[in-house]
């Protein structure tokens, strides 16, 4: 089932996922499975989604990220989005994609610190 080529790193008890640059729908759905399974396997307390190489987003992508964050929450974890590019943020806002209440950080480093400090 883990047939997509995306690395999910575990650092202490936090998962770090580097979302690929131009993900198609198949990759995005596969990513969700992989993250949730890794949550289970490593008993992680949170997930950091690194979006620094993503330069285009659509509503399906945003919806899947929001859903995944809710699922992680249901499993007792916390989600932080890190490193979104300015151009992506502007496009997302114009499309009305607010990623609801998912926490955001400037980069993985600050996200990790935040996860360690308050969690």
């Amino acid at each position: 089932m883990d047939d997509i080529n995306v690395a999910v790193l575990r650092l202490r008890n936090v998962l770090i996922v580097s979302v690929p640059g131009d993900p198609d729908d198949h990759v995005i759905t596969g990513l969700q499975d992989k993250i949730l399974n890794s949550m289970m396997r490593y008993r992680a307390k949170g997930v950091i989604l690194d979006l620094s190489t993503v330069d285009i987003v659509d509503s399906f992508f945003a919806r899947t990220i929001i859903d995944t964050a809710q699922m992680i929450n249901l499993m007792g974890g916390r989600t932080i989005i890190a490193g979104m590019l300015p151009s992506v943020a502007i496009t997302a806002t114009q499309l009305g994609l607010t990623f609801e209440n998912i926490e955001t950080c400037l980069n993985v480093d600050t996200a990790f610190t935040l996860m360690e400090q308050t969690g």
Partner: protein, 299 residues
Amino acid sequence: MPVTSEDWERRKRFVNFTEADAKLLKQAKSHMEKHVDEVVNTLYANWQQYPELKKFLNSPETVERLKVTQRGYFLDLFSGEYGESYLKGRMRIGHRHQQIGLDVRWYIGAFSNYVELVTPHLFKALSKDLDKLQGTLLALIKLINLDEELAILTYIAAREEVISQQHEEILELSTPVVQVWDGVVAAPIIGTLDSHRTQMFMERLLQAIVDTKSPVALVDITGVPAIDTATAQHLIDTINSVKLLGAQVVITGVSPAIAQTLVHLGIDLTGIMTRSSLADGIKVALDRLNLCIRPKGAA
């Protein structure tokens, strides 16, 4: 180039300037050549009486040089060729006059001078053929009208270029983003936010946040005279974009008037941190970074 040759052909069609007109003017050329010096000399004698024109005619050499150009201009009216090279020549002359700062009214007035000086010569030369006289006179008036059109367009195009340059400069100037502390950027908004400006403001603010790795951005609206729903929506969009990056916006400079307007308009700013002064905003930002300012020597 304000007028393309396609436009030019359409203008000619609109005033009904035909090949027959071109031919009539060409036939009048031989008569006009006899009087060209007299006409040009009279023009300059007239123009030198006005200080506004005199300042461009300060030396006899300049006047002599301009008279040569003027002769060319005059004879071009009767050249019989009014295609692309005529158009380009006329626009070049218009552009040159605009550049030296000649008021367009003098430029247009000179066309009237031309008609006044040329008409008697036409009457004298063609008094035996009234149809031809009428045709030539009409052809000349049409052509001079087209010339005036080009002159005005050249002036307008130059002005519009200046205006659009200034508009860009104002936009640049009006959206500064400065770093006030390690991890804090501030962006004062002066004037109203329209959608074009918001776009530029957002891009600059977001880029500054990423470049300086700042978790807090202060957006100061002290200089915003009035807020309406559109402006508020632009602000909210900016705040949402900043939030996606992983930074937080604090709106500062919320005056009593703006606070009242926001509530009366029913604009929902829950979840958005607002303060009345930039100083308060800086305190919030430092607090967020676990920093504080205290007096020297205090424990």
